[in-house]
């Protein structure tokens, strides 16, 4: 009897890119729920808009590149990029901000470098930084956290805002938005206030900012789930959290009036999102164990440095991109000792 042959190993593969990406999306659900709870349904509109745009952009580029469309679309990597960018945007960002950012991320940052697996920089973060430097105003106009604003918006109002930039009657734009905790802290410190004085402001909560801290906790939850499911390794998140904690802890010990406590930096802004979902993007991160620890710590330290001494209130995107640059070098210098070789 004749048989067809194949080469070993013959065992079924235990994992797939689609599964990895799908689990990442699932792990983002708690964070998205928290975002919707505190910042309104605009978050969902952004996510849906971003996903549709990303799938269309990805299909188009794949067609132009002469690649099979369905095979690549079903790996869900474009969806992950879209969701990550969408949840980083202010919940009332105009539609064209989302669309431009996604198209830039997918076409320029991902496919011009060769598509999935070949891009040196995290596409979502490239998209984010591109938007931040191009359209600073809409990119920093976060809606007021639920319960803190002077008025509440219904779904229709939000849709009007996003798609037509039409501000609801008897409201002005400033009333709709509110400074993020990191922003507020920076402003207050520049006004010669102490950290404690600044944190007595309305936007601050138990750990960091009102609302924001819950979003961070939800991301943390999702991140821990990813670790349990062995989708991500602990090295990058732990490195990142360690990096930011150590450096902020030292500064806090030196002068508690000038520097916010570590717990604030951990739960403010995008630290948790960055630690578990963005820095862990395998394509652009370091790949060795030691390299990943250093990579995480590097991002943590950079986030703190830019937040405290830099021009921007938050810095996860910049830090991740800077660390992306260092990843190949980290890999090169952290090669493990091969079995049977001398150290």
């Amino acid at each position: 009897m004749k048989f067809s042959t194949a080469l070993s190993p013959h065992v079924q593969p235990v994992n797939s890119v689609t599964r990895v990406m799908f689990e990442v999306i699932v792990a983002l659900v708690p964070g998205i729920i928290a975002l919707v709870w505190f910042f309104g349904l605009g978050v969902l509109i952004n996510v849906v808009l971003a996903v549709i745009t990303a799938l269309m952009a990805e299909s188009l580029v794949l067609l132009v590149r002469g690649r099979p469309v369905w095979v690549s679309l079903k790996d869900l990597s474009a969806v992950v990029t879209a969701v990550l960018l969408a949840i980083s945007l202010p919940a009332i960002a105009p539609w064209w901000v989302t669309v431009t950012g996604i198209v830039f991320a997918i076409v320029i940052a991902k496919h011009l470098y060769g598509g999935l697996g070949y891009n040196p920089f995290n596409p979502a973060m490239i998209g984010y930084v591109f938007l931040l430097v191009s359209f600073p105003l809409p990119m920093t106009s976060w809606p007021a956290v639920a319960g803190l604003g002077t008025m509440t918006l219904n779904f229709q109002d939000i849709a009007q805002l996003i798609f037509f930039e039409r501000i609801p009657e008897n409201a002005d734009y400033d009333a709709l938005t509110m400074a993020t905790p990191l922003d507020a802290l920076k402003t207050q410190l520049s006004l010669q206030k102490t950290v404690l004085e600044a944190q007595s402001g309305a936007v601050f909560g138990y750990l960091a900012g009102k609302g924001w801290e819950w979003v961070s906790l939800a991301y943390l939850l999702g991140g821990l789930w990813l670790m349990v499911r062995k989708i991500i390794n602990w090295h990058i998140p732990v490195g990142l959290i360690l990096g930011i904690s150590v450096i902020s802890g030292i500064c806090y010990l030196i002068d508690a009036q000038l520097y916010a406590p570590p717990v604030f930096h951990l739960f403010a802004g995008a630290t948790m999102l960055g630690a578990f979902f963005i820095a862990t993007d395998p394509v652009t991160a370091a790949t060795t164990v030691k390299g990943r620890l250093i990579y995480g710590m590097m991002i943590g330290a950079l986030v703190y440095i830019i937040r405290v001494w830099g021009g921007y209130p938050d810095a996860v995107a910049f830090s991740v991109l800077l660390a992306n640059l260092a990843a190949p070098a980290l890999d090169y210098f952290t090669k493990p000792r091969v079995f049977g070789h001398r150290a």
């Binding site: 690649r67 099979p68 095979v71 690549s72």
Partner: protein
């Protein structure tokens, strides 16, 4: 100040002078490196009478790097790498890439003229006048130089067949990856 500068120059002068003597390289290292890449077929297809002369010609800039059919594209790429040049396709004026083969003498036709023995650049043909000749297949480089001189056309080039001991693991096909 001037003295210091003069002294520095003097020191450098001495160092350079000594290194010129002590680290003097025998022969021409670049020619050796080029020759190491060439396949040593000694076929002369490059228009030079052997691999060494071709290597010398490349080193002096007289010959291009794409004149060696037995070396193939891999050989050209390696030369381009070594010399910091742009790789280019084989110049087909000098021949085409052929599967590796060895010369085989059809023994019943051989008249024992020894012309092929004189032509062989690696002395891989055995025999003497009026006696039938044979090729040592292991030593044959497949240069084909013995084919033309044979007055009775009894030498043929036979491609080396893949056997189970020369079999190589195939490279996986690339579809999407």
């Amino acid at each position: 100040m001037i003295l210091i500068i003069c002294a520095t120059f003097a020191v450098f002068g001495v160092v350079l002078g000594f290194s010129a003597v002590y680290f003097k390289v025998q022969g021409n290292p670049i020619v050796d490196k080029i020759e190491a890449i060439l396949p040593q077929t000694q076929c002369g297809q490059c228009s030079y009478p052997g691999c060494r002369p071709y290597a010398e010609a490349i080193a002096s800039g007289e010959a291009d790097i794409n004149q060696c059919p037995p070396g193939g594209q891999d050989g050209i790429n390696a030369l381009a790498d070594l010399l910091g040049l742009e790789a280019k396709p084989l110049n087909d004026e000098f021949g085409a890439v052929k599967p590796k083969s060895v010369a085989v003498i059809i023994e019943e036709d051989c008249i024992g003229c020894t012309k092929c023995i004189q032509a062989c650049p690696v002395d891989a043909i055995l025999g003497s006048a009026k006696m039938m000749h044979t090729v040592i297949a292991n030593e044959c480089t497949g240069c084909e130089l013995c084919v033309a001189p044979c007055p009775v056309d009894c030498i043929v080039m036979e491609p080396i067949e893949q056997t189970i001991s020369t079999w190589q693991w195939p490279e996986p096909e690339r579809k999407y990856a």
